[in-house]
Symmetry: C2
Subunit: 337 residues, 2 copies
């Protein structure tokens, strides 16, 4: 199986690392022979039909910052679209930076791959939150697969879990802590009694919150995931503008203390149900599965037969997110056997 | 698909209820036409090759206590083995009372079904905890399937989750709260400051703990689940006698208070790792996925790539446990398509 990896940031590098670690195991366990035939970054690309060396890709990127410096097979200033045109591959790994205004350029990459009858695995929330049905229909028309476990909750396997693990049950609604940064901030506010501003500042210094934290703290990131879950699991046809969003920047220490005195915590919760698409701060009971702290993600499926079933996992991390991408690759491979 | 249900206690009746609720949905969704051709209890059996009425089965059992009173098709004093001999079925649902001394009579029922080339779905911990390899090998030799999601954690789908959802990862170890009764007792001790004896007594009055609570509070029930997880997920070859077991009856209020002051809770934890098979009270951090209260079950898979992934669900309940059995039935059906 030949992979074309567009984007070589944290997730793309994670994919290279995971393939390096697991190449032999995948062969033995599944008969799956993985080859990276192309990798791109803003400098250009490395392209080799017989397969690039994942460790050398990582070393070149770390040492020089530019994948186009890959010996012999590096190419400067080639665009992602040109790479898609030129390279021999079976599955596109779309991990370029996400854009939640128009989903580009990821959306065009994915549609181009579909038109060329290639499968796609992505962690890219933008195109999924803005153009889910268009992408799903294009995949269907071209008889190829689109998989995106890594786009929601990183290493928390919520999509495969909901689709495969409970075939006897109908899923009535989904509630989740879908953003690790805000969970980290709210947890520390509850534990330490410090203000939102103080903890946000420290989180930024630690690299947990971004310099521009708006997408996390205003709830947009969680809302993208709400859209993906709604479309993928609840068979809805919605986009980001359909989600009611309230972030955490107005949460005061007083509110958190009041809640705690009654045995509750405040968490930023995404809800998907028949009538509701919402991200907002809500009270959760201490001792409930939502009372987890740190950067963990949680999602609860409310079902007709099994009541509440919950999955918890790391919402971010290079290797963790790449593990979800590799699981999707394996799933595509197994479906063709 | 014709089902023979041995045992008509809470789980067996749950299966009948769930089939009654979902019969049409299963046809539409999966093309699966479920028929109950036999049900047994200590009074005898009801047998009808064209399919018994699940609602009438439930009504007869509720009104008279004896399934042998089923009109026209009821039979008194027929043994389970005779029923297996006589009845036309594809899949045995083995839900007779569990026995953790020798696993009988469930073990003989399952082996008889295998020899007759029938698949088996069971919630019965006894035979799985005592004779896992023997049963697994017999299933293999006879080219039939043995499924037992309901035997661990009721509606917490840990087995299917571990087998299907994380194909990219190796599972290094498993930690779980695998017994709802003890989790309920420990949670109330922590919240209310009452003694173990007091809460146990109240739990018995509420029907959450049994009159003879030994299997729960001494850790044997959790240990059975540890054995099943070890054999099924970690590819071990162990039985109940290989598990080191310490129960919760010696846990004092003082120990719980001391732990709480440091931000910890005491939970009865089952551990399966390369060198360890153990059930014992352990400290878990507040804010961790193990800090859930009530009768919930939790299991964390420690993986090589995705770090910790946790699933939480209801550990008991008639309908909830039956939902796991129905998921196993669907899975067997789909594997033959």
């Amino acid at each position: 199986m030949k992979l074309c990896i567009l984007g070589f940031g944290a997730v793309g590098r994670g994919v290279a690392k995971v393939i390096s670690m697991k190449k032999e195991e995948m062969k033995e366990k599944y008969g799956l022979d993985l080859k990276i035939t192309a990798v791109t970054d803003t400098s250009g690309a490395a392209i080799y039909d017989e397969g690039l060396d994942p460790n050398l890709l990582l070393k070149i990127k770390e040492d020089t910052g530019k994948i186009s410096n890959y010996p012999e097979y590096g190419i400067s200033k080639i665009s992602n679209m040109e790479v898609l045109h030129k390279v021999d591959f079976d599955c596109l790994i779309e991990v370029t930076p996400t854009d939640i205004e128009n989903g580009e350029p990821a959306k065009s990459h994915i549609l181009k791959a579909f038109n060329d009858k290639k499968d796609v695995v992505t962690s890219n929330k933008g195109p999924l939150a803005l153009s889910f049905r268009e992408l799903a229909e294009s995949a269907k028309e071209n008889n190829v697969q689109l998989k995106y476990e890594a786009s929601v909750g990183g290493a928390m396997p919520i999509l495969n879990f909901a689709h495969d693990t409970l075939p006897s049950c109908n899923i009535k609604s989904i509630f989740g802590i879908l953003n690790g940064t805000t969970n980290y901030i709210l947890s520390r506010m509850a534990k330490e009694g410090s203000s939102y501003e103080q903890i946000l500042k420290e989180s930024q210094e630690m690299g947990i919150a971004e310099t521009n934290p708006a997408q996390d703290v205003e709830g947009t990131d969680a809302a993208c995931k709400v859209v993906i879950l709604a479309n993928s699991i609840m068979n809805r046809d919605v986009t980001l503008k359909d989600v009611e969003i309230v972030g955490i920047s107005k949460i005061t220490q007083e509110a958190i203390s009041l809640a705690r005195n009654e045995g509750y915590l405040i968490k930023l919760i995404g809800e998907i149900s028949e009538d509701t698409l919402e991200v907002s701060p809500r009270l959760v009971r201490e001792g409930s599965p939502f009372a987890v702290d740190g950067t963990l993600n949680v999602a609860t499926l409310k079902t007709d037969l099994a009541e509440d079933v919950t999955v918890v996992g790391k919402g971010a991390g290079s290797i963790e997110t790449a593990s979800a991408i590799l699981s999707d690759i394996i799933s595509i491979y197994k479906s063709k056997e």
